[in-house]
Amino acid sequence: MNLAYSAELICFLILSSIIVAGSLAVVLLENIVYSAFLLGGVFMAVAGLYLLLNASFVAAAQILVYVGAVNVLILFAIMLVNKKEKLKPIEGLKTRKILSGAICSGLLVLLLRVSIITKWNIPGPASIGEKATERIGEHLFTDYLLPFELASILLLMAMIGAIVLARRDISNEPSKINDFNNGKSLTEKEIPLLSENTLK
C-alpha cells in the first residue's frame, strides 16, 4: 500500500461521504437556501470524484457548468423571489413523506443490487490522463456529432424561450410599468423587475 493509493482512498472516502450526506441534506433540509448552497457543495464533490478518476477536463467542466452556471442560477432565482411568508401546511404530509421515502429506498435497493450483481471489469481501462481533452474533442466531432448538435439546438431553443419570457414588455403595455399614481409599484408581480423600460 503506497502513498498515492492511500491518499486516493482517503480522498474517495471523504468525497463520497460528502456526496451522500450532502445530497440527503439537500432533500431533507427545510431551508431552501441551505439546500441550494449544499447542492453546490455536492456538485463540487462530484467534480472531485472525476478528478480522482484522472478526468480533469470533465471535473473542470462539471465545476464550470454545474457550480458556476446551474447552481448560481438556482441561487439567483431563490434570492429574487425570497418572500418571508408562512407556507400553508400541506395536507397529509406525513403519508406523502413515507410514500416518497419508500420509493426512494426501493430505488436505492435496486441500484445496490445492480452494483453488486454486475461483474465489474476491475481494473478498468488505463486512463489516458492529459490526452483526454483531445479525445473528447475528436469524439464530439466524429461519432458523437449528431447528439452534440442536437444538444446545441436544445440549448438554443431554451435560450430563445428565456428571451421571449424575459421580454414581457412586448405583451405588457408600457403605461402599466411605473404607474405610481394608481399605487402600483415595481414589486408587484405582473410588472417585470428588469425590463427595458425600467432601465431607461
Partner: protein
C-alpha cells in the same frame, strides 16, 4: 527546447542522497511550492496595496502613506495587522454559519488558481493539462461565495451587492472565456506553459498581443470586471449600496474579501502577461542572447540567469498591468448597471465571437503565423 532547471528533481534527489525514501522526499516536496506561492500571492497583494495608495495619492496630488517605513512601504502591513486584531462582529440577525463560510469561498478559488501561473519552464506548482480552463472553472465558484455573504448578512444592501456581483461575474465570464479560447486555438494547448513557449520563438515580436490585439483588450476589460475594479465596481458602489456585499463584515472576514480582491487583480495581471505578453519570455530571444555572450544555453550559469530573469520578467509585466489598473481606477468614473450589462452582452460578447471566428479562419489561411 531545453527542460531548464528542475528544482523538484534536484530537491528529491538531494533528500534521497541523505537516506530518505523516494516517497518521503516527494511528500516533503509537495507543500513547499504551495507555501511559496501562498507567500508570493500575499506579498504581491501587499505591494499592490502600497502601489494603490501611493498612485492614488499622486493622482489626487496628495502625499499618501508616509510614516510607516520609508515612503510608507510598511503601511499595508499595518493595515493587515489592524484588521487582524479587530473585533469579529457577526450581526445578531445574520446567519452566522453562511456569514463565515462566504468570505472563505470567495478567497479559496482565487488562491487555488495560482496553481497554473508559470514563472518559468518548471517554476509552477502543477503543469496540469487543462491549465487555463481550470482557472476559468475555479473563478466561476466565486459568485456563490458572494451570493452567500450577501444573503447571510440579512441586509438589503448586502443582498443587492451580492446579486450584482454574481450577475456581473457571470456576464463577463463568457467574453473572457471566448478571448482565452482564441489564444488556446493558436497554441493548440490549454497548458499555460505551452502557451508561453509558443510565444517565445522570436522575442517580443512573437507575443500574442500582436496576433490577438482585440482579444487582449476584451480579456483586460473582462478581467477588470471580474475583479470588480473601478470602472466596474458596481457591487460595492458606495453611493448606492454602502459597501455592497461586504457592508456587514469587519475584522479578518472583511480582510478576506480585501485579500481576495487584490489577489485576483494580481492573478489577472499575471494571466494577461502569460496569455498575451509572453509570460517569462524576454523581449529578445534567449538563444540569441546566450550566443552573444558566448555561452551554451545548457550552461548552468545561463540557466540560472534565465530562470531568475524569467521570474523578474513575469512579475514586471504583471505589475505594469497592475499599474494600468490602478490608474484606470483613479481616473475613470463608474458605469451604470445597465451600461455594464449592455457592454458585456451587446458589445463584448459579439466582438469576442467575431474575434474567435477571425482567429480560426486566419489559422486556416496562415498556419505558420497563427499556429497550425
Amino acid at each position: 527546447m531545453t527542460s531548464g532547471i528542475d528544482l523538484e528533481m534536484s530537491f528529491t534527489q538531494g533528500l534521497q542522497n541523505l537516506g530518505l525514501s523516494h516517497q518521503l522526499a516527494h511528500l516533503l516536496w509537495i507543500p513547499l511550492p504551495m507555501l511559496l506561492v501562498l507567500v508570493a500571492a500575499v506579498i504581491g497583494v501587499l505591494v499592490t496595496v502600497w502601489l494603490e495608495r501611493k498612485i492614488s495619492a499622486a493622482a489626487q496630488q496628495r502625499i499618501g502613506p508616509e510614516y510607516a517605513g520609508a515612503l510608507g512601504i510598511l503601511q499595508p502591513m499595518a493595515d493587515g495587522l489592524k484588521l487582524l486584531v479587530k473585533e469579529d462582529i457577526i450581526p445578531a440577525r445574520a446567519d452566522s454559519f453562511l456569514f463565515t463560510v462566504g468570505p472563505i469561498l470567495v478567497l479559496v478559488p482565487v488562491i487555488l488558481s495560482w496553481l497554473i501561473v508559470p514563472f518559468g519552464q518548471n517554476l509552477l506548482i502543477s503543469n496540469v493539462g487543462i491549465g487555463i480552463f481550470l482557472w476559468i472553472a475555479l473563478s466561476s465558484i466565486q459568485p456563490i461565495g458572494l451570493l452567500m455573504s450577501g444573503y447571510s448578512s440579512n441586509n438589503k444592501y448586502s443582498l443587492l451587492g451580492g446579486l450584482r456581483a454574481a450577475a456581473q461575474s457571470i456576464s463577463y465570464e463568457i467574453p473572457l472565456a471566448l478571448a482565452v479560447l482564441a489564444v488556446v486555438m493558436m497554441s493548440n494547448s490549454l497548458s499555460t506553459v505551452d502557451i508561453v513557449e509558443q510565444q517565445n520563438t522570436a522575442g517580443f515580436l512573437s507575443w500574442n498581443i500582436w496576433r490577438q490585439p482585440v482579444g487582449f483588450i476584451i480579456f483586460w476589460i473582462c478581467a477588470l470586471a471580474e475583479c470588480e475594479r473601478l470602472p466596474f465596481d458596481l457591487p460595492e458602489a458606495e453611493e448606492e449600496l454602502v459597501a455592497g456585499y461586504q457592508t456587514e463584515y469587519a475584522g479578518m472576514k472583511f480582510a478576506l474579501f480585501y485579500l481576495a480582491g487584490y489577489i485576483n487583480l494580481v492573478l489577472s495581471a499575471l494571466l494577461v502577461s502569460v496569455l498575451y505578453l509572453g509570460g517569462w519570455g524576454f523581449p529578445i530571444s534567449i538563444d540569441w542572447f546566450s550566443s552573444l555572450i558566448g555561452l551554451s544555453i545548457e550552461n548552468p550559469l545561463v540557466q540560472i540567469i534565465a530562470g531568475s530573469m524569467g521570474i523578474v520578467m513575469t512579475v514586471l509585466k504583471a505589475y505594469l498591468l497592475v499599474f494600468l489598473a490602478i490608474l484606470l481606477r483613479w481616473t475613470t468614473p463608474r458605469v451604470r448597471i445597465d451600461q455594464l450589462l449592455d457592454l458585456g452582452w451587446k458589445f463584448l460578447l459579439p466582438i469576442s465571437l467575431v474575434n474567435l471566428l477571425v482567429t480560426a479562419s486566419l489559422k486556416l489561411v496562415f498556419p505558420m503565423t497563427f499556429g497550425g
